[in-house]
Amino acid sequence: MHQDGISNRNIQVSVEAEDFDVNQEYHWLRENQMRDGAIVTFVGLVRDMNAGEKVQKLCLEHYPAMAFASLQSIAKQATERWRLGKIRVIHRFGELDLGDQIVFVGVTSMHRGDAFAAAEFIMDFLKTNAPFWKKEQTAKGSRWVDAKQSDQDKTASWQK
């Protein structure tokens, strides 16, 4: 476990309906720092197929008071495990179309292994702990997406 002196200014979390601009986020991760040579980003998009059905639209419900705190807490946990520079997490809510951006995670570090691990850790915990729920619209009507056991397993694997 690594206890890092990462300042709150360097952990930025947003929960918003608006779309985000990956370019702008990448520039924030890169600017005003010369120490971190590694930047890893993850973007999640609305896929056209899920559980064998063609998806037309997605509606993301969330628990506003908890969503922000939950993402912030996951980012902080990452800083306790790895030496990181900056962390950016964005999660959208509301109505989303096919191909739309849902989630952004960006991490900087001196070491690429730490940046990769931290970004994946944040995504894995977000998947099982952040209070968001997807409702898909398909030709057969709308349905709530089922949580996946594989996501639970991934989160559990970090706790070994």
């Binding site: 705190a69 209070p131 709530w144 089922d146 949580a147």
Partner: protein, 81 residues
């Protein structure tokens, strides 16, 4: 007094997003049991296996103690990201 929130399938199928109650069960588990007595539907949807609980915006186990003014939320396993 405690505030109780419901999300996603729970909110839709129970037809309620938020309620407040004056009685104060000891724990999250006791509250879960109390609510489950309202009907078969409530009992089914609030089953521990398929319904997470958060206390003051943090996921907790059923033995978490309740205090007046707490915000409790019940919801299905999350599916964001």
């Amino acid at each position: 007094m405690i505030k109780i929130l419901f999300f996603a399938q729970l909110r839709e199928r129970l037809g309620v997003a938020e309620l407040t109650q004056d009685t104060l069960p000891d724990t999250i588990g006791a509250l879960r049991n109390e609510l489950s007595q309202q009907s078969g539907l409530w009992a089914e949807l609030l089953q521990k296996e398929r319904c997470l609980a958060a206390l003051n915006q943090e996921i907790v186990a059923d033995n978490a103690k309740l205090n007046s003014g707490d915000e409790v939320a019940f919801f299905p396993p999350v599916t964001g990201g």
